[in-house]
């Protein structure tokens, strides 16, 4: 089970909330302070991309973000509701030329994520697409002191 799960309506104004929550949970999980900016940016990119995909596909379901704390690592999964079989995740061909701008931003977002995060996995399936990003955590994680 995810440490923290967030679902938000696919609207641009909520992406900031997702960034703030992800950074807060990452800090608690023991992700290095120096890397928190990258976590914030990467999760923002993934959420922006998901919001864009929901908008362009007229999907009403929320974007979901799972923040998962494991031993020695912290992962974030951002899931969209776009059926991967449509081709949208492979090359955007299904969208046609009319949405080339949106697709360009989508590509730029993925470029930023792959530039920032060493451990990234992008998957597409019938239930939607998912970006999973993982960071190592320090052993000196922020543990509660005596409760």
């Amino acid at each position: 089970m995810a440490t923290v799960e967030l679902r938000f309506s696919a609207l641009p104004e909520h992406v900031r909330t997702a960034r703030l929550v992800a950074a807060a949970v990452a800090r608690r999980a023991g992700v290095d302070e120096a890397v928190l900016d990258e976590v914030r940016l990467a999760v923002g990119e993934a959420c922006s991309r998901a919001v864009g995909l929901h908008e362009s596909h007229d999907i009403n379901s929320p974007v979901r973000v799972l923040l998962i704390e494991d031993e020695k690592k912290f992962s974030i999964e951002v899931g969209d509701g776009v059926n991967g079989d449509s081709g949208a995740h492979e090359n955007g061909a299904a969208q046609g030329a009319a949405e080339s701008d949106a697709e360009g931003e989508d590509e730029m977002g993925l470029a930023v994520i792959s530039g920032l995060v060493d451990d990234v996995e992008v998957t597409a399936g019938k239930d939607g697409g998912m970006i999973r990003m993982t960071w190592p955590t320090t052993t000196a994680a922020v543990l509660p002191q005596g409760g």
Binding site: V15, L41, G44, E45, C47, E105, M108, G109, A111, V112
Partner: protein, 113 residues
């Protein structure tokens, strides 16, 4: 924090001071501002990003769009930025080769090539 925008003219340059967060929600406001400036005949822009706390790919897209617009009028778009976390985003996307990035507004305003 929301996005703040203000413009001023220095010689033949228009300085756009941007503050706050440029993301998928606020970037359209910056896009509108740049489009409006170009439509009003300001083709030499300096975007001062010293007070920007956050920039994502949507913001980069808007800046690239602004550059495309001013270039259509043989203009220029220069950035002012000293913040490492913002500069990093330009570096990993290769955009440091596309935008002239200056350390101060004075330097950007007086730059000629």
């Amino acid at each position: 924090m929301d996005l703040s925008l203000s413009t001023r003219t220095v010689g033949d340059r228009t300085v756009v001071e941007v503050g706050g967060e440029i993301d998928v929600y606020t970037a359209p406001k910056l896009r509108e501002q740049l489009v409006e400036l170009v439509n009003d005949g300001s083709y030499h822009l300096v975007v001062d990003m010293e007070r920007v706390d956050f920039l994502d790919s949507t913001g980069l897209g808007v800046l690239v769009g602004g550059l495309k617009r001013v270039r259509a009028h043989e203009g220029s778009l220069r950035l002012v930025c000293n913040q490492e976390r913002i500069l990093k985003i330009f570096r990993i996307t290769g955009l440091t080769k596309v935008f002239p990035i200056h350390t101060s507004v004075e330097e950007a305003v007086s730059a000629t090539d």
